[in-house]
Subunit: 773 residues, 2 copies
């Protein structure tokens, strides 16, 4: 056992009562509020590089071996075939991820456009016949039905599919496996739940869910589907390690963004800026390939649909706004207006984060009570949304139709800006045009240029307030819900509002103001810059507004950063996922590595008694155990290396024991296939319960040397914790051995894990650091 | 001394004769050819993190301290002011870099357009008057004069300014200081040399030089100008460390691309994909800000010029091509055509790299002979270029002018597609329209859409061959020369050639084919993907062609990667800059860290005799020395840490010596200002010659503990070299201590430096690895 403390990030129930009590004195009320919502969690991943220079079967399981660059020129021709297989497979997987994500993205849009379109057509028809109450019933009924369907899927089949999914994917790519977050059931619910949820008229987006879907697809493909079917599993063994899985899932996340926004470059940048914690140039290229495939698939399918073969799915299906601003110049007051827009947008954005946080904490209390409460909450929000969407347009006045004969007014069919609602012939209700539309169409209406008169100030104000509030109260209910679309909607209406207000001062188009407003809100909540900028560019297809979008994003991010963290970071923290930040916290500089290692340390001998190993495995949840060689095997006690729980389990299952404490060497491994030690998929590896060790075997010995990582990364106990954190983070470690400064002491002081770097752990041991902080 | 071997990457003359002889047996002919061209080199940078947890003055010099995130919440209010200063300064510097680079970019274009424009107008006028020979003399004379001016600047003032500069910037960001590569004189020559060189009609670009210029500007601003003027030096002390300089230079490089192409997002991605070796999210944001400033500055200045106040600098000054392809759909044969285009482009691209490499090696022999030979070479190439540019158009037939009255034909003024050259009234020479134009205008002509008939197949073929060859022979002469424009020119003519050839099969526009051809060549030479894609998008302002551009880039890069490395990597290698790749070489897996450490190791005592230190400093060029505590200071010999040459020099200069071997502790440091130990600019630190140690002081002792980094990163000697390389590279180290596996031996085995990971070093020790490889 590496650390005597019974509760650890790597075992279940890290934040169980016991832990909070133990460190009770150091944890203030403030911290108890911050108790994470996600309780059940397993983390079964191995240290990134488990082997030294000795060539042994274990070695060929690790990423260093299967990494393309590394053994491009390996010596044995047998290996060359493996490399070829690996490279081909890597690109095939990227292609498949792109294809699948593109298809799912298309399916998502197809579903939403048809379901929501049917609902809206029905409502519109009834409204035209002046059957207002029936129209409301139809509208609210459809919404409720769809919402309940989504909630049932979410609550009973895969609770992990609720919400955006981006925080979980981000945490996964940082090295934290949240419970069943990439399971096939989650994928299924995420796809269908998202279609149903968006169709139900909620103020939610499909972008977060698409990212999560892409990640799930990547994970599923990387595992070769289900184990039952033994599909191509021999080839996929190359991907049974942390690094390759992580790479695949990065590709998947990028493909998700690409599919949601039809923004291939934006997708790559999103993966780079927001999702991934480690990045390599090689990955840039592969991700780019995946998103290119997504773009091609979507384009092909949309072209197919232009001929009208996809029901109500029209040209406007996948969001692609043409803000043809045709601005070639802007004056000082324009820039000033944009500055102010950015500042206020940043404030609103960070407020949004604040409220989302509060609402999430409240909802989590309700959601924890069980599936039925979850569904009840969804029903409540669905009814609220329906009432707002249907009720608020009554507040708007009827506007005479524009005289331009090219514009169909009032709108008859599925899409269009001019909903008649309650208005008489030749008039339209501008608020209904926003509310009684899909979110995509509403955004398109807000972004449309050359339409200064279309929406009144009053309507825009109502819409802004309603969407801002609905967006906040909707996130957290048990349906897959993205945050991009609510934020873009609120931001666009805010921007258009400002644009209409100061229309006399500025020459910029109100559509452009709407875009800039959306950018400011996005910058204020998500805190991304380059990727948002590129996504917005790809959405609107106008490069000339680039400087203004950049300016707004920079300002709103700067402003919002003064108040709180980005919304995804906030959710990661709230869920209690032990995210390793890329920089060390300031108080870490005042501690050394030895300060946060907590004992007593339990180690194994190089040749250890089976009973001792079994006992350690049973009584702790640790995944890494130091192995110490002692006389007579070595001259003095020395650190032999680190052995992983998963490898110990495989070794014990092999039952190659000896009655004496002797080195059996690599012959032990001849009983195993080279890939027996490969990292199994979540929940698929050998478990402790699978072992059937007889009583008399308990006294036998097993040589741990063949499965020991003989050169783990180590730090000296006097190293600044900040420096150790840097090493831990940059190399993506899971275990870091702390060795003594002075010779003559036991060769290892302890092991640092991810958990030891969390503020909860450190401030738990050193409460006064918190006061100083 | 850390390693007994006298020649080291950190000392001058790493690849001197001595070294080659010593390892002669292991170095084949092939390797001697690869002997680097750059001989003089100093590398005076410190290990990335020099301090542990003990708060001492040294500590506050290191990046960990000045890093914004780290001490955002530092305890002492005095520090808070420093943090504020640091943050304000960081952003101010980013702003200034953006402003300065934008201005230089504008100046560059202004200069080129006016000088080259004047030259071309003169030639054109003379041609219209049928004075052909006089026209040639004027043309060639202008070219020669400008070329010689550029060459004189380059050869006599700053030889480091020749060539692209991107490889050197890339190496700097990897941690290798090439000699005077970022010096003010280099900046000066790069700016003016680039203007003169491009104006001289060479087939060279301004992009590489702009990147280098941006990096120089960043370096200069970060150092606070010259030391003489003491300008804001107190504030800039925060930037006197490796990491902050590196960050600034990354911003500068991105700003350079942004200024060259007016591509702000492309600039950021270029810095990320090609230039930077380490990347943080925080940097993404700052870089983005810098490029946004560049974009705004350029836009403002260009708007100013639209009114005609900038001489011949017109709307077309900064390249911005509008390939309004208006493609909404493409068929299978279009995609097939694009595939083939990409494959052939990839082959041509890698061939380009191959020839550039050969030509560079040949030129280096000439250039090494002295400045006059350099100038002679420039004169030769200039005459060759003039002859081609003026002579080849005679091969083209005169084409009747298009009937469209909107098009001015033949061209009278500065720009325009229809040069009359030798042709009679109402006719134009299509080849002259390409050759007798600035490179930017030639590219614009090639990219122009809806002009299928403008250039004949024959002319395009001649132009392609000529530019391809001229581009190859021009790079390597003593003028600042970018590679982007030659490659784009050659690629665009190739693409347009293919487009014209298969015009009957494919519906795509020839302008689009030219763009795709340029993309394929760029992918084949530079091997970037995402950044090139975005740069091309920003250049052409058309997002609809994105999937095709992505496809072409991916294919051409894949094809070309089978033959050789990217052109910048190739130049880095040829120059002998010890670039640390992000992945370990395969043969490293068969070695352990202890294998490549070469002895005998010279270490210092914790309290060391001044004479010994001075001797070690004098007789070696090493920058890191292990410090060992021995009894009576410690119980047993133990590794105290690592001390840097630069800090030793400062300490010795302070002359705080004691006559006994005692710990004097931190009082030693009271003689020093906190920033005395800050990393000085290149060539500005304390030098060995500055020390004046008396003979009797030689026997005194000095306590090294206060300036020792007490917790350097260490690896055990049995660690796989590949793993050690990963640690070294990921953390950006300069020294890595190798400690023994078993206790009881001396506490340090040796020190690994960047040099120990180079193939030259490893294959020098283990020649048989090469055979196996």
């Amino acid at each position: 056992m590496d650390r005597g403390e019974p509760i650890d990030i790597e075992s279940d129930g890290m934040f169980s009562k016991g832990r909070l009590e133990r460190n009770g004195s150091g944890i203030s009320d403030d911290m108890i509020i911050r108790e994470p919502l996600l309780k059940k969690r397993t983390n079964t991943t191995s240290q990134i590089a488990i082997v030294g220079a000795n060539v042994c079967p274990i070695e060929s399981l690790d990423y260093e071996i299967v990494e393309n660059d590394l053994f491009k020129q390996d010596w044995r021709s047998r290996k060359k075939i493996q490399i070829f297989q690996y490279v081909v497979l890597k690109w095939t997987l990227a292609l498949l991820i792109g294809l699948a994500t593109g298809l799912v993205g298309f399916f998502n849009n197809l579903g939403v456009e048809n379901i929501a379109g049917f609902k809206l057509l029905l409502t519109n028809d009834l409204m035209l016949k002046d059957r207002y109450f029936k129209a409301f019933l139809a509208f609210a009924g459809c919404n409720l039905g769809l919402a309940v369907a989504a909630a049932v899927l979410c609550a009973y089949i895969a609770p992990a599919a609720a919400g955006s999914g981006i925080p979980e994917v981000k945490a996964y790519l940082n090295g934290v496996d949240a419970y069943s977050i990439l399971a096939p059931s989650t994928l299924f619910v995420k796809i269908f739940g998202s279609v149903l949820g968006v169709s139900a008229g909620f103020v939610v987006g499909k972008e977060g869910p698409m990212v999560h879907t892409g990640a799930c697809i990547a994970n599923l493909l990387g595992q070769g589907g289900s184990r039952k079917y033994h599909l191509t599993w021999r080839w996929l063994r190359y991907f049974k390690n942390d690094r390759d899985r992580r790479d695949l899932i990065t590709c998947g996340a990028a493909a998700g963004v690409a599919a949601a926004f039809r923004a291939p470059v934006g997708g790559v940048l999103f993966a780079l800026e927001e999702a991934a914690s480690w990045w390599r140039s090689a990955l840039l290229w592969r991700t780019f390939f995946t998103t290119a495939v997504v773009a091609v698939v979507l384009r092909a399918l949309i072209e197919y649909c232009w001929s009208g073969k996809c029901g109500l799915f029209g040209q406007g299906g996948l969001i692609m706004f043409d803000v043809s601003s045709a601005i070639s110049t802007y004056s000082t007051q324009d820039v000033l207006a944009v500055l102010i827009l950015g500042i206020i947008g940043g404030i609103f954005g960070s407020l949004y984060n604040y409220f989302v946080d509060k609402v999430l904490r409240t909802y989590s209390i309700i959601n924890e009570r069980g599936a039925s409460f979850k569904i009840l909450l969804v029903i409540t929000i669905s009814l609220l949304t329906s009432c707002c969407s249907f009720g608020l347009p009554w507040l708007a006045k009827c506007t005479p139709c524009p005289t331009d004969p090219k514009k169909q007014c009032p709108t008859i069919g599925r899409s269009g800006n001019y909903k008649s609602f309650q208005c008489s012939e030749g008039h339209y209700n501008d608020l209904a045009s926003l509310f009684l539309n899909t979110n995509d169409d509403a955004i398109r209406n807000l972004f449309s240029s050359g339409t200064e008169e279309e929406f009144s100030l009053y309507s825009l104000f109502i819409f802004f307030v309603a969407i801002y509030c609905l967006g906040i109260v909707t996130y957290g209910i048990a349906v897959p819900a993205g945050l991009f679309i609510p934020v873009i909607l609120a931001g666009a209406s805010y921007g258009r509002l400002v644009g209409t207000l100061i229309g006399s001062i500025s020459d910029l188009d109100v559509g452009l103001f709407a875009l800039l407003g959306a950018a400011s809100f996005l910058g204020g909540t998500m805190r991304m810059t380059v990727s948002l900028c590129v996504i917005l560019l790809e959405l609107t297809n106008d490069l000339l507004m680039l400087p203004l979008v950049m300016l707004v994003l920079l300002i709103s991010k700067t402003v919002a950063d003064n108040f709180n963290k980005g919304v995804y970071d906030q959710i990661v923290k709230m869920k209690g996922l032990p995210f390793m930040e890329s920089h060390a916290e300031p108080y870490m500089r005042h501690l050394v590595a030895g300060d946060v290692v907590s004992g007593p340390l339990i180690t194994f001998n190089g040749v250890e008694k089976v009973g001792n190993i079994l006992h350690a495995l049973k009584t702790t949840g640790h995944n890494g155990f130091p192995v110490i060689d002692e006389p007579p095997i070595s001259e003095a006690p020395e650190l032999c290396g680190l052995v992983l729980r998963s490898h110990l389990l495989v070794l014990l299952k092999g039952k190659k024991f000896s009655s004496e404490r002797v080195l059996t060497g690599d012959e032990v491994l001849q009983r195993f296939d080279a890939f027996d030690f490969a990292k199994a998929g979540s929940g698929k590896g050998v478990k402790l319960e699978d072992l059937h060790i007889e009583e008399d075997e308990m006294e036998l010995y097993v040589d741990l040397h063949p499965i020991t990582n003989a050169s783990p990364y180590t730090v000296v106990e006097t190293m600044s914790l900040a420096k150790a954190a840097l090493l831990f983070r940059e190399l993506g470690l899971r275990h870091l051995c702390v060795v003594p400064k002075t010779p003559g002491r036991p060769p290892i002081v302890g092991i640092l894990t991810r958990h030891d770097f969390t503020p909860e752990h450190i401030l738990g041991i050193y409460p006064n650091l918190k006061a100083q902080k």
